[in-house]
């Protein structure tokens, strides 16, 4: 409350910019606090992802390998219930491949003539089959912990793909003196470092057909690429449309600016 008093006398301007500048500094310092206050559990990995940045797209080969990792490993515990088999065209699988994948899965398919529920092969229009009929069954099979649905997991965690990658590659021995609960696994990335999921991936867990090395990091990278696609299947189309829309709008801005100049040319302002 002293400043106003003083500047009532001093009508000059430099004072003002000094105040504004120190205020801005204030905001910056607060921002820095904000940055450091986010005490991370483990070091957040900083992987390079094909789909990052304004023009990034999905590395389809990686996403397909990632689908293989999901099908062979994760799908034993995790559902992806917002996906349909037909959606897999988004990672570059063709109709026949998708039909073949769906046909290998058995799902409930309505009722027979007697009204009894019956089962049959899935079709491309079927939802991804969940490993457990309900959450209770999922918990019962997993030591009381619920494996979350993975359809949106990349968007549902702070840090996105890097965090999921960090979980998958973050298993290890607890440091000396760290008390582990029964049935839990040590994970550097997970908040609290104790996760109910057993390490799902090791070197060589899946056999790639395209000759890509199947070490842990590669497998994790691939499955995260697949999961990122699953969470944002519209990403590539979105960015493509976005580029065109923004270019068009920039053109329109130029045009309206020219029109405005013309309209205002007779005004003295």
């Amino acid at each position: 409350m002293m400043r106003p008093q003083r500047s009532i006398m001093a009508r000059s301007v430099p004072m003002r910019s000094a105040i504004v500048r120190s205020l801005l500094a204030c905001v910056l310092v607060t921002g820095l606090f904000a940055a450091t206050a986010v005490a991370q559990e483990g070091e957040m990995p900083n992987e390079r992802w094909s789909f990052e940045h304004a023009f990034g797209t999905f590395d389809l080969a990686a996403a397909q390998r990632g689908f293989q990792v999901y099908s062979n490993v994760c799908s034993n515990c995790h559902s992806m219930k917002y996906l349909h088999y037909r959606d897999l065209s988004g990672i570059g699988l063709d109709e026949d491949q998708i039909k073949a994948i769906a046909a290998n899965v058995t799902v409930p398919s309505g009722t027979d003539d007697q009204g009894n529920p019956k089962e049959g092969p899935a079709t491309p229009a079927s939802e991804f089959k969940s490993p457990f009929p309900n959450d209770k069954a999922a918990r019962a099979a997993n030591n009381g912990a619920l494996p979350p649905d993975l359809s949106l997991i990349v968007n549902a965690r702070e840090g996105g793909p890097n965090y999921i990658y960090g979980i998958l590659t973050g298993f290890g021995q607890p440091p000396a003196g760290f008390k582990m609960q029964d049935g839990m696994n040590y994970n550097r990335m997970f908040p609290g470092h104790q996760i109910a999921m057993p390490p799902p991936l090791q070197d060589g867990t899946v056999e790639y057909t395209d000759g890509t090395p199947n070490n842990l990091n590669q497998e994790a990278h691939d499955v995260v690429t697949f999961l990122a696609w699953a969470a944002n299947p519209e990403l590539v189309e979105r960015k493509q449309i976005g580029v065109r829309v923004v270019l068009f709008l920039m053109f329109m801005t130029g045009l309206t600016y020219a029109v405005k100049r013309k309209v205002w040319s007779d005004v003295d302002h």
């Binding site: 106003p4 500047s7 968007n155 519209e234 979105r238 449309i241 923004v246 709008l249 801005t253 309209v263």
Partner: protein, 424 residues
Amino acid sequence: MAGLTKSEFANPVINWIDTRLPIFTMMQKEYAVFPTPKNFNYFWNFGALATVNLAIMIITGIFLAMNYQPNADLAFSSVQHIMRDVNYGWLLRYVHQNGASMFFIVTYIHIFRGLYYGSYKTPRELLWMLGVVILLLMMATAFMGYVLPWGQMSYWGATVITNLFSAFPIVGPKIVTLLWGGFSVDNPTLNRFFALHYLLPFVLVGVIFLHIAALHVTGSNNPLGIDVKSPQDTLPFHPYYTAKDSIGVCVFLIVFSVLVFFAPNYLGDANNFIPANPLQTPADIVPEWYFLPYYAILRSVPNKLLGVCMMFGSLLVMFVLPWLDTSPVRSARFRPIYRQLIWVWVVAVIVLGICGAHKPEGIWVVLSRICTLYYFLHYLVILPVLGKLERPLPLPESISRPVLGARGGGPLPGGAPAKPMEKA
């Protein structure tokens, strides 16, 4: 014949309609030839931008509502259905979701314009108060909209905010039960929030109509904050300001598009990708960014009732702002001290916003208390006192001759005495 308008439109169909219902004459008068101060800067675009934004929200909202299920068991997956299966559903939803943020960005700048150039002062008090009503309605709409996707943050945000009403003695718990339609946030809550979220934007349209009607009675303020003196000070709205507003709309759409197409979840919360779970509270419950300053005010006070009152008070105080600010000079350009202090206030609000995003611990509590204090000090002490103490710079004679004496505070030509104030 009594009552029929003499229409000046040449087109016979338009003339026929206009004679019986003079909407064309009215549009002509209010939007085409409407005399508008000629010295607007780009801050005067934001009202038009807010209107465009509202139209975008209503259109995308109606199409979302065609595919959305207001049912606690289905809401989350129906939004996923929109995102994945509905043609261009992702576009509709991202536009609607980020449109809410854009709406607040635009409206906050619009309000700042009003504060900086004193647009709330006489004779525009009612116009300003209608604006505050619009802000409150927008907030209610956005809050209820955020509940609809029924993610973790939707659910817990709704729980925390509705629970605030329980702080009021006697009626509090009853209000909460009424809001919930039961004894916790649940399906009935979602149902009524959906109904209200659909309704309120149309109430907004009505209030915005009044806001603009009031504007067309008083006429617009301008960066100099002085009254229009002669026709030389004004230009017809069309084509001058339709042209200028069009530039604003284009730039606005660019910013909007960059958000929607390249960073649609940047302003969102990761927790809202997890379906609502009443049994699991998220580590920290934070509202959308546009509520953060108010949330920080709420959490800066240890007493719940007092915190709630301060939070609502921080908004309600804007209703009486025209009477709290005792300075007769409108534009901050001619108020050397207010011109600095308004920035201090802006910084306080921004710091409050940053505090609101953090758990109320340590430094964040201290900062949010200081800023809350300053926020109220600004309205309740500084503005009333400052108007009396501050020596305003001399005001220019008219809009068409503004250069004289404006910035430097030099003497007016012809030895005219510094005109201390506009007709107050």
